[in-house]
Amino acid sequence: MDQKGFVFSIDAFISLLIIVLILGISVDAMEIAGNKIQDFSLEQSYERIIGNMGDVLVTTSGSPENWEKMKSFGGVTPGLMDNNNHTPGVNKLSMMKINCLKSHPELIDKIIPKGFDCSIIIYPSDPAIPTISLINGTHNHASEVYVVNRTVVYSYDSYVTYSSIKMENYVGKNSSDYNCPHLLLSDHPHQPPDFKISKPGWICAEFKVNLGEFNDTDFYLLTDPPVLIDKQALWIIDKADNITENTERFTNQPIDIKSRIKGLLVDHGVMVLHIYTSGDNNKLFNVYLVGVPTDTPINNVKVNFMGFKQGYFILKIWD
């Protein structure tokens, strides 16, 4: 204390004031930063959880691997990756697993955190293909919605392609890789077309149907485009040891060939698909021989449903 009775000088008072002010601001800033860190880590934690959840669904085939074929789903962890013909590095999903999860949406509870709700939708890149909604859910009152987007490939329908003949692959060639049994016929041997000089001809390819899969499968011939410009196009299905020259024309619809396959499926299932083309470069088309599960409506057998489709797997989660 000085002679005037002051404990602090004016300088010391101002210094203390500044220190208190700085300390106050620092404490406030620390609290704000602390809250932000907490929010951020929570957000990161949810994002990591949902990211992992998306990866579990897209990059694993679940546990057990063939869970979609099981009668009871106790102890099942769902995963959607196609474990047959899986190409590494590609998120290839199995349509059977997708359909199974769609029928049993409660299985998703095994991998989402408690108290959370979710929705899963696959949006195809091709707008002609319907969107697949695996798990429906609405998040109208949720404060935060976390989203995972993964690019995936999947076969929209469970088609098996037994044979595919693509004319553009034969444009530069005037010989075939396959020696057609019809070359034995002296009257109408199957000579390949020559697209350079618009010479008509036959393109032939063999395919194999196993007896075991026949009962569960319907067989169709599809063309791309569905309505052919090449009006001379014809087809034959036969076997090397059961040759026929009965040609048929394509229609604007998928052609049901199950009875034809049944008639030929004696002893062995190695058959030959023969396609006649006018050899006109401007009238190229593709032919696919596909198998679909029995009783699939013919309206669902479309050429643009065939093969693997690219899509976006969108998983949303909220509390």
Partner: protein
């Protein structure tokens, strides 16, 4: 320093405290920024390891094609083919990973551990380890891939088609006996094969003048194999021969041993028919028309070249399409026994 020996005044000292607190907070914020980057990089390394994995089959087929093309061109064997193929795949993978490394700055290491036979004779097995490392994230995978090297006429996947692998064995075995010509998907032997068989001291080697055999490995669809004989007039056998299919065989050589110039091996291998030219003159017996028999070792024990009796599988006018088969092979393919 003041008269009392203090470096700084009390107030200056008090002012340092909030400065320290503020700088600590600033460092924390910088550290948080770094944690955001980790999951993003984790995704990238996942994709890179997947990319490397999916490139191994393509590079393996490229290497197999390059090696078989080289043997077809020179007729020279590839000693220790597994090791040679492994080294070639490793070199291609190294090129690929260094490109990834340049573009992404991520450390990638892929080691081909082993190249060997698969349980499927139409495929080879490649074992590898992929390590992708970025900051604190690492992915390490041991991968075993069965890579199919045969093409099929019914194949709907065209990726294998661009890597049609040629059978090197006929070019190695007949080197120095004449010239082989390639017509489409077939090898035409001219007089080369009959010269080769004659040099081995075999009877009726002239049956193989102008013989032919398949050039590319193609899987036979007539499986079980007794379907070959299970048809009206052996037309399935004719279709199989016309299209040059290969069959699974315990006695036939695997792809690696073919590259090494061996016609038989202890691995699960492949066999195909070597077809004598169609002719009006029929010889009743000649060396059996299966590649591991024709190209087998003669005069040593066990005897690998043995005769077969004629089997006419098709006839038109006066021309006979035939092969020579022993009862063992006739039984395998469901063909009439002698």
């Amino acid at each position: 320093m003041d008269n009392n020996g203090y470096v700084m005044g009390g107030i200056a000292f008090l002012l340092i405290i909030p400065a320290v607190i503020i700088s600590t907070m600033f460092i924390n914020v910088v550290n948080l920024d770094e944690t955001v980057k980790i999951p993003i990089k984790s995704d990238t390394i996942q994709h890179i390891s997947g990319d490397i994995e999916s490139n191994i089959p393509i590079l393996t087929l490229q290497v197999l094609k390059e090696n078989s093309d080289m043997v077809v061109k020179t007729g020279e064997t590839i000693p220790n083919s597994r090791e040679t193929i492994k080294r070639s795949i490793q070199s291609k993978i190294d090129d690929l990973t260094s490109k990834y490394q340049e573009n992404t700055g991520i450390n990638i290491y892929c080691k081909i551990n082993n190249v060997d036979n698969s349980l499927n004779p139409y495929a080879i097995c490649v074992n590898s380890t992929v390590d992708v490392h970025c900051n604190t994230s690492t992915i390490s995978k041991n991968i075993s891939q069965d890579i199919q090297f045969v093409c099929s006429d019914s194949a709907t996947d065209s990726s294998v088609e661009s890597y049609k692998i040629q059978d090197p064995l006929p070019f190695i075995k007949t080197r120095g006996y004449g010239v082989l010509t390639v017509v489409g998907d077939k090898i035409n032997y001219g007089t080369t094969l009959s010269n080769y068989l004659k040099s081995q001291g075999l009877n009726n080697s002239e049956a193989y003048e102008n013989a032919s055999s398949p050039l590319y490995f193609k899987k036979c669809p007539y499986d079980p194999y007794n379907f070959h004989g299970n048809s009206n007039g052996l037309l399935n056998l004719k279709n199989c021969i016309d299209n040059g299919y290969y069959h699974e065989s315990r006695a036939g050589a695997c792809i690696f041993c073919r590259l090494e110039g061996k016609s038989t091996c202890t691995h699960f291998g492949l066999e195909t028919f070597i077809v004598p030219s169609k002719s009006s003159v029929q010889i009743p017996t000649a060396p059996c028309s299966v590649d591991h028999v024709i190209f087998g070792e003669y005069g040593h024990y066990p005897i690998e070249i043995y005769p077969g009796t004629i089997l006419e599988y098709y006839r038109t006018d006066n021309v006979s399409y035939h092969i020579f088969l022993d009862n063992g092979h006739r039984n395998k393919y469901g063909l009439p026994l002698t």
